[in-house]
């Protein structure tokens, strides 16, 4: 909120003057001994703290993977919860090193904001949730509805586009914090709750009676969610990028958290390169050669991370869909390590 935003933004002004002046994020991170990650303020499955303050989720696992790749220790990571609105300022000002926070890759963010998207760790799209009692079965029946959502998101822009394109009037009630969106929707302020489909499944769990609500079939946008770093530091960009690619390649090569030690004796050269037994790929990005081995040991491959956090056996119950490997009907794809 304001109280938080102002110092943050002011910090941004000063931070831009001081912190960001040093280019080599990897050196800074190594010197301080941990990675500072910007995460959500609590989105089950993606980044969510438990009652003891331990963070977990798909985005958190990415952060742990980076910590493991750099330090060999997944716990060498600290988390800064950020609202959608605060997140870019926090990254630009150097308050955090990397932003894995269900953030959509868009051209503006990738260019004028001075940021770089590392890749995509979850292919998503925007959806609508309504009360079943409303008797609505399509988003095209939502003309005149009140819609609750988060400010500072692609969501509020997409909804404006969608309703304008379909010539439907609407009323947008945009909150800064997700908890307030959930509360306002739950208390009947809005007919509709809109955000990334994954977010709808996650936030639905916070409603008083989750079963009274349903997600409409329409997906109105592309939301490729991925981690973000500051523009202008290629080394750090590479570390983040290849952390993600290593997780995806590991799944493709069948390397898992459980079998990673055994896989060391594999004859497959691609596995050998991944695990640092051949070549010096880790050194090329400023890390040790067992970087990928360490990160797989810590969090597992992409498929495991997906299943543990948002998969069918979790409360979110999301199937792989687009996020399955390219070889298994999805579009999850990583350049090879060679």
């Amino acid at each position: 909120m304001t109280i938080k935003l102002l110092p943050l933004a002011l910090g941004a002004a000063l931070g831009m003057a001081v912190t960001a002046a040093s280019g080599a994020t990897l050196d800074d991170v190594k010197a301080k001994g941990f990675v500072q990650c910007g995460v959500s303020q609590g989105l089950p499955g993606f980044s969510n703290p438990d009652s003891a303050g331990n963070w977990s989720g798909l985005d958190v696992d990415f952060c742990k993977a980076m910590a493991a790749a750099i330090f060999g220790d997944p716990s060498a990571a600290k988390y800064t919860p950020l609202s959608a609105k605060e997140r870019f300022t926090a990254l630009q000002s150097g308050e955090i090193d990397v932003l894995p926070r269900n953030t959509t890759w868009t051209m503006t963010r990738d260019t004028t904001l001075g940021l770089n998207f590392v890749g995509v760790n979850y292919y998503d799209g925007q959806g609508f949730m309504v009360r079943k009692a409303l008797g609505v079965s399509s988003a095209l029946e939502l003309s005149g509805a009140s819609i609750c959502t988060n400010t500072g998101t692609t969501t509020e822009l997409n909804v404006a586009d969608y309703f304008r394109a379909n010539n439907m009037p609407y009323e947008i009630v945009a909150f800064e914090k997700s908890d307030e969106v959930v509360q306002a929707y739950d208390s009947g302020r809005c007919d509709v709750y809109t955000t990334d489909a994954s977010g709808l499944y996650a936030q639905r769990l916070k409603l008083t009676n989750p079963d009274d609500h349903m997600v409409l079939p329409e997906i109105i946008s592309k939301e490729p969610l991925g981690p973000v770093v500051r523009q202008g530091d290629d080394q750090w960009f590479n570390v983040a990028k290849w952390t993600l690619f290593a997780m995806i390649n590991a799944e493709e090569l069948g390397v898992t958290k459980a079998n990673v030690e055994d896989m060391k004796s594999s004859d497959n050269p691609a596995v050998k390169r991944l695990l640092g037994l051949e070549g010096s790929y880790g050194e090329a990005i400023g890390l040790s050669n067992d970087w990928a081995l360490n990160l797989i040991k810590a969090v597992g491959n992409y498929g495991e991370v997906f299943d543990n956090n948002v998969g069918p056996d979790t409360p979110l119950g999301i199937s792989r869909g687009l996020n399955a490997l390219w070889s298994k009907g999805g579009i999850m794809y990583a350049p090879p390590i060679r």
Binding site: L5, M16, Q92, T112, G114, G152, E156
Partner: protein
Amino acid sequence: MAVQEHSSADEPPRGSILNDPRVRSVFYQLVVVAIIVILGWEIVSNTMANLKRQEIASGFGFLENTAGFGIIQTLVHYTETSNYGRALLVGLLNTMLVAVIGVAMATIIGFIVGVGRLSSNWIIAKLAYLYVEILRNIPLLLQIFFWYFAVLRAVPSPRNSVTFLDSIFINNRGIYGPKALFGEGSVAIGIALLLAVAGSIVLHVWARKRQEATGQRFRSGLSALGMIIGLPVVAYFASGMPVSVEYPVLRGFNFVGGLQLTPEFVALVLALSIYTASFIAEIVRAGILAVSHGQTEAAGALGLRPGPTLRLVVIPQAMRVIIPPLTSQYLNLTKNSSLAVAIAYPDLVSVGGTVLNQTGQAIEIIGIWMFVYLSLSLITSAFMNWYNQRMALVER
């Protein structure tokens, strides 16, 4: 000895000029100014360089770009295709709307409660005391959340609205009421109203002059009221009844047409004015207590009843004590209105934050915020100072 001492105090100190206190003080001040200038320059140039290196655009050109997001309450025409500058204007006007209405309501409630605290009626005095003690000790943000979330849950959905006279509807989408639509020829009504107001002022001035000169009283209030209501009504009929009323009707999800006050607006105004009123009440009480009791007794001796005594003798004198601290409360209310962002009321900070997030122009937006709040505060202070001078003791 005595001679020597005398001469050493009169003559400039001998020896190095560096020991001259005047030279030293000028020197130190120059050093401080130089440090500040260098520091300031360093920050500005460093920031520019870093922004450039990070490839973050700077400047105010972004204000021309399309905003692309909707805003729930707009006092001027705004659509998703309007630009960021327009969006910020909408935010500014929303801030000013809340500030003006909040200040008016806080003043009214504050004066009533403040006078109530001094009431000789035990129940009224205790109620006013409780009001002040409870409301000024609960953080404002909690009060805003209370008025928003707690009240929101208690009101019905649009289909089950609480209805008054078939024209005012209260539900969890807001308060809906009839809206006047001014058709062609309505200008006449506006002109009539202006004339009536001007006439009332002239009448009031004349009545005062006459009372001062002759002691005869003329109740200008009633005639003014008659004029202000009567003239526009005459004009309304004369111009062929150009005003029509639009009633809100339930269509689909929600009411359409008529006048809508959103729950965000209502909650924010209520919270701000009720909270600030608790401080104003204490200021009013202190102001009244500061007027010596002799004044009341003197008024009584002249035959004034308690009502006119309060109105004509005590309050005008109390105002001199009340106005300066009242000004700070008005400034506080305006600045506190930025808590709006917590409940989705689109004020300047909320809309500005969205623009900041979308464009990444942190420094520019914060500059605009600071400039606007500073200006609003300075304007309020200037107005209150002017009013204070008018109320100040005039020696005759």
